[in-house]
Subunit: 248 residues, 2 copies
Amino acid sequence: MQRYFVEPENITDSYVLVTGEDVKHMTKVMRMETGSHIICLDNQGKQVLCQISEMTQNEVQADILETLDNYNELPVSVAVAQSLIKGDKLDLVIQKGTEFGAAAFYLFAADRSVVKWDGKKVQKKVDRLKKIAKEAAEQSGRLYIPSIYYVPSWKEVLQQTKNYSTSVLFYEEDAKTQSHGGLKDVLQSSPESIMAVIGPEGGVSEKEVNDLKREGIKNISLGPRILRSESASLYFLACLSYQFELLR
Amino acid sequence: MQRYFVEPENITDSYVLVTGEDVKHMTKVMRMETGSHIICLDNQGKQVLCQISEMTQNEVQADILETLDNYNELPVSVAVAQSLIKGDKLDLVIQKGTEFGAAAFYLFAADRSVVKWDGKKVQKKVDRLKKIAKEAAEQSGRLYIPSIYYVPSWKEVLQQTKNYSTSVLFYEEDAKTQSHGGLKDVLQSSPESIMAVIGPEGGVSEKEVNDLKREGIKNISLGPRILRSESASLYFLACLSYQFELLR
């Protein structure tokens, strides 16, 4: 069934109001009619099954039939601190990372990021990625849309790691060593929250590795094969889901 | 270091001959010169460190310095039987699936595949995907390029599953149930080889589910969130790598 995130104030006790682009999606793409069922979410944990009662060009009203209580969020809050990489690859990280359960993305220009974001365009770029995250959250049945932040300085990235009980750096060089136990150790330590720092195509710089080390953040390996920057978070999130959702 | 798969007959005891498009990549893209180091592989398990000794427009000759023996293939042979999906999504499955360690891909038109392949174009399409797999195998440090097959009939897909000690179907509906232990049970049974059957955007048909059931192939869940068709194999391969390469 089709799912839509709406503004919290648009969900009352008895009905939901859908506005904006979702109306077009409901009418033009899905060809819904009065009587069609949808699921609406407020991105604050509320999830209701509804039946459309009124449709205009700009607004859809739907009666609430039932409050749903299926919970499918990862049991650990995971943030991906992703270095800026080329546009379509960043889209992939956001879309698939949302499907795989990430709670937040912090985007930053790493020393070796070929892509840099012009200050004036940051808001537009973040808004575009937020839309991708919203759609992926709706499609994959998430209760929450991941947050997306642009972090303008490396110092602030380091600062952000302190908001997570564990932070790790995935370092390509580690794929070449024989020691791949780091991720298991981190996940089996049952962290409350994790931030994963991921370098750009050319990898993180020595300075960045050392800065993270000084904050007590370990390099860990994502297995014996060398993963592209845009693949690292997906591999990591899938392992995390397997450990916490499937192995239990 | 840059890696290139070459024809087995182009690796002698003392030198390697690189021909074809890789020569362009070495000269134009990587701007290599006589004396540059490369790694060459024969896609049969041999891996040699070389130094370029001669370059012409069509051919590069390199002296073998050392035979390498790092092994980074998944300890289980995994095949992905992927329903046809839209072009760029199929490219993603091949590229990322190769990075994540798949040994083979079987492509087939499922009942609900919107995309069908015109018989005349099959070879061209498969060749294009083989090139993506080769590049991803080189980039990720694989010893082998995954095989890619187009399977023209559903009956033959069922037949192929018999070549694997375990086969599973990932069925979207299972994401909605509370039982997510199937993948763990399969992986912890230490299968020798696994084939994963993955439906198209609209999911597998009831007939396909029943046909697989008759062959003793179970539906299993890939966790509580609904994954897109092109994401399923990536999630699965990452879990498999975690179980067999990181948890040991």
